[in-house]
Amino acid sequence: MSDSTLTAGSRVFDIDAIRADFPILQRKINDQTLVYLDTAATSQKPKQVIEALTNYYEQTNANVHRGVHTLSIEATDGYELARTKVAKFINAVRPEEVIWTRNTSESLNLVAATWAEANVGEGDNIVITAMEHHSNIVPWQHLAEKKNAELRYLAADEDGLLDISELDSIVDSRTKIVAATHMSNVLGSINPIAELANRAHAVGAVILVDAAQSVPHMPVDVQALDADFLCFSAHKMLGPTGIGVLWGRYELLEVMPPYMFGGDMILEVTYENATWNDLPYKFEAGTPNIADAIATGAAVDYLTELGMDNVWQHEQELTAYAMEQILSLDSVKVLGPQDSALRGGVISFIHGTIHPHDLGTALDQQGIAIRTGHHCAMPLVRSFDVVAAARASFYIYNTKSEIDALVNGISETERYFSRCPVA
């Protein structure tokens, strides 16, 4: 169980062995073998993660940081070991910089409601990008309105890449925070976080990274990115739902006011007032999500053993292959960078005649799960003059033959909808 025995990339990247770890891949959907291409929404879980959950509930279950009995001590150790694993996974300076939240959205909201609430004033500005998920737009809209501050956007160019040509004028002396996605959940574009961080720091602002789509798929080093805050969810990286991470620089977290109040986050309470606990507990009010934190540790172990360089390489190969295959269909247009080297394993596409929902239903009939709709990025999707798109996204368990199944499935759907009505 100890992470000290884990060596990054110690396990051979054997796709058959990996797939054998995911029980759900055996399922039949509408009598077809499941082809799961919706990891950008949530990933599937290997048995190692599922067993971490059941083992915890069967062998350890107790509350943390409270008891002196054996189970409570084991639960606390497991909970804190998982935090240490996450810290190491993203190269945090210390584990106390890792705060458990419910998900990326809560992590983003936490920063908006505490750090930004205390530091953004009238006339200041907040800079985000045109390719943010709603969860990295709406908290800032709300804050900007409340504080009479300005919300500014870095645009995306025609290829779906972030346009940083006007970075120096958009991020100015009144900028307090730059909040940007590391990888777009719609376009797959990978954003130049280190450059944004450099500019933010030059004007005394902080940078927050929405890493929901990057941490699961590529090596992420918070120190190399020079980030101040970084947010992600466990469920997109083999872990359970209901748990996410806010990583923040220790010195920033230390002076931030609490987000929620309750047990565990206080040091001392009198009838008149209370003092706040140390990091990370100041931000973890109430009984935390112990089981899911421990299972997140198992997910991190799984990815660490495969090695994030190998994970990324596998996805880059799949993405290059998928771009080639999908673009070979005349009827389909891919949103975002056409060069697969500039994107991650998320491919949103529009069919010339078939609406994404009709395509989604038809593919589901063939056992293929893709995402359809606005992908929680309505302004971005609308900027392509469409109201919805279809999206295929990949992970460690996907294969080239599954991409072939997708492409064949699209062709089958075209044939279906082009049949002559009998009416």
Binding site: D31, H355, P356, H357, Q365, G373, E412, Y416, F417, V422
Partner: protein, 153 residues
């Protein structure tokens, strides 16, 4: 060749020939001059949006125009709606809206209503695809609400 596609399972129950016909050749798409009811309905979750215009003279729908974009189900449903309501009184339209709601929810409709709905009964196939029911309902619910507002207002 309905049912002949390998792996496309129950698709034919959703996309009956009449649905595909209305989807490909939607009826009543011309704009209406000086409409009495002019509404936009949309389902942002799906990315369906329609502009519905009605002219009402002597308590009867004398003209209807629907334009927009959406999936095959929402487009066919809007086209079927346009075809049905033309010439109907507001009471008859409300009754049809109510019958369609019940049809899509899998509730009982009378023989008389079945006769009134005609081709629209083909929309009933959506019941096997619960996430698509709102696609079929979009224009009907919008029209029902707008008509009520028009009559009350």
């Amino acid at each position: 060749m309905p049912g002949g596609m390998s792996g496309l399972g129950d698709m034919d129950e959703l996309y009956e020939a009449i649905i595909l016909d209305h989807y490909r050749s939607p009826r009543n798409t011309a704009a209406v001059d000086e409409p009495d009811i002019d509404l936009e309905v949309n389902n942002p979750f799906c990315g369906d949006e329609f502009h519905i215009q009605l002219k009402i003279e002597n308590d009867a729908v004398s003209a209807i125009g629907i334009t927009g974009r959406g999936c095959a189900i929402s487009q066919a449903s809007a086209s079927l709606l346009a075809e049905l309501v033309e010439g109907k009184s507001s009471t008859e339209v409300q009754a049809a809206v109510d019958a369609v709601r019940r049809l899509l929810k899998g509730e009982e409709i009378t023989d008389e209503e079945t006769d009134i709905l005609g081709d629209i009964e083909a929309l009933g196939g959506v019941r096997k695809f619960p996430v698509r029911i709102k696609c079929a309902l979009l224009s009907w619910v919008g029209l029902g609400d707008a008509l009520k507002e028009h009559l009350d207002g």
